[in-house]
């Protein structure tokens, strides 16, 4: 056995085992990911929501303190965590409230408000929705952070499977033209061709979507890193303060942030004491207006007692990496046609996974084996590989 054959066998083993371990979870991710590409459209279709009042172009937004008071009147005893501008629907904003300021924000109640009148619209319970269930299955399988990190590990195995797949693609194709599909042959040969063809065509997309998915599983950790790193640095002189009992005007804080970071638009405000801020600041996060810069957030920290700007810095590289990796995973950055292409690529990935499992099952049966199917098309000692 030549060194090349040995090395190819090793790559073959890597491809087999990494694929086998992650396939079931990758199937779950591909299947739940498919409706998630269209989550906005599905939600619109399945759930009706109160429309914001028609506002003529140039209508000034409502005073945010007034809007916040209206929202809190609907949620007695709750405290605000976040104020969020709706990216897709400029006429609406969200106020996220929890039982206490340090409660887990993933269980928060979301109150939808009219941006221009400041009036209450509705507060839908999203947790029963089809898209919510798909999202939970897709991100952590209802198992919290451990579930998330586990799926991230499966994603790493998926990436290794793709790379080893590229290596074992070569001996498979030594006697075949690119794109060969041997339609007249037995199923095992045909499905090997489908596996090879779809696998190699989708290499760049599956690697990017796979790896950005892995990065997304680290979001909670990245946030913690930022909190103990840059955020702690920016608010060092406030570190022994308690959560302020009387807060300055929210509307004023957002105005100060707008002036401090010209050319950027507010995306959300984190209230003092939440994960995204210190105990003494409103953290106003602003975004740019190109497809790329709209993903990059810049916080402006406003002292919640005086209403003055404390500091504003660009987020560190690890947070920016996370934000840029999100659209590349979701496919939501190029309109409906890109979403459709994303869905088709996702379906082809399901083909790759399914044919892969089939090929492995056939490999264990005597008689028609994948090795034979490959061997019939390739010889072991290829000068191109040994040279």
């Amino acid at each position: 056995m030549t060194a090349t054959t040995k090395s190819l066998r090793r790559w073959g083993a890597v491809h087999k085992w990494t694929s086998l371990i992650c396939t079931l979870f990758m199937l779950l991710l591909c299947i739940t990911g498919l409706p998630l590409i269209f989550h906005d459209e599905i939600d619109d279709l399945l759930h009706s929501q109160v429309k914001p009042a028609e506002a003529a172009a140039g209508t000034p937004p409502a005073n945010l303190d007034h809007l916040l008071a209206n929202a809190l009147a609907r949620a007695p005893g709750k405290v605000p965590h976040f104020l969020i501008w709706d990216r897709d629907e400029p006429g609406a904003m969200w106020v996220s409230v929890g039982p206490t300021i340090d409660a887990d924000p993933t269980n928060n109640l979301l109150i939808r408000m009219d941006t221009h009148t400041g009036a209450y619209l509705d507060s839908p319970d999203v947790t029963g929705r089809f898209t919510y269930i798909m999202l939970k299955l897709h991100t952590d399988m209802f198992a919290g952070l451990p579930g998330k990190l586990f799926l991230g590990l499966m994603g790493i195995l998926f990436c290794v499977a793709i790379i080893s797949g590229i290596v074992v693609y070569a001996p498979s194709m030594r006697k075949l033209r690119f794109g060969a599909y041997r339609a007249q042959r037995t199923r095992v040969v045909r499905w090997l061709d489908v596996h090879n063809l779809a696998g190699i065509l989708l290499v760049a997309w599956t690697l990017v979507v796979g790896f950005t998915g892995v990065i997304n599983t680290w979001a909670d950790l990245v946030l913690k890193m930022w909190q103990f790193g840059q955020l702690a640095e920016m608010t060092a002189q406030y570190k022994d303060r308690q959560v302020s009992s009387k807060l300055t005007s929210l509307n004023g804080a957002v105005e100060v942030a707008r002036h401090a970071v010209p050319g950027m638009t507010p995306s959300f405000v984190a209230f003092p004491g939440t994960l995204f801020s210190s105990k003494s600041h409103y953290a106003v996060f602003l975004h740019g207006d190109t497809p790329l810069t709209s993903r990059l957030l810049k916080p402006a920290l406003i002292d919640a007692e005086t209403g003055d700007l404390t500091d504003s810095r660009d987020m560190p590289w690890y947070v920016s990496t996370l934000y840029v990796s999100q659209p590349l995973h979701f496919g939501d950055y190029g309109g409906m046609p890109l979403k459709i292409v994303w869905a088709l690529l996702d379906i082809l990935t399901i083909f790759i996974l399914a044919t892969g499992v089939y090929l492995w099952m056939r490999r264990r049966k005597a008689g028609v084996s994948v090795e034979r199917a490959i061997a019939s098309a390739a010889s072991i000692d290829n000068p191109a590989l040994t040279s």
Partner: protein
């Protein structure tokens, strides 16, 4: 069936497709309008090629 193919022959087309896909993945991030259209075409290419190769030699 064709004669033994070299690694360059085997990986030439996949490499081009991977580069085109990468351009497609990035272009919609950079801008809107035409930039989006580039990404639709570039990322649609692998899907199109798949259908083309499978349908061209479909079993009867």
């Amino acid at each position: 069936m064709v004669a033994h193919r070299s690694l360059t022959q085997i990986f030439a087309a996949p490499l081009v497709i991977a580069i085109v896909s990468t351009v497609g993945l990035i272009s919609a991030l950079v801008g809107d309008g035409w930039w989006d259209a580039v990404s639709w075409v570039a990322l649609g290419l692998p899907v199109l090629l798949y259908l083309l190769f499978i349908w061209r030699r479909r079993p009867n």
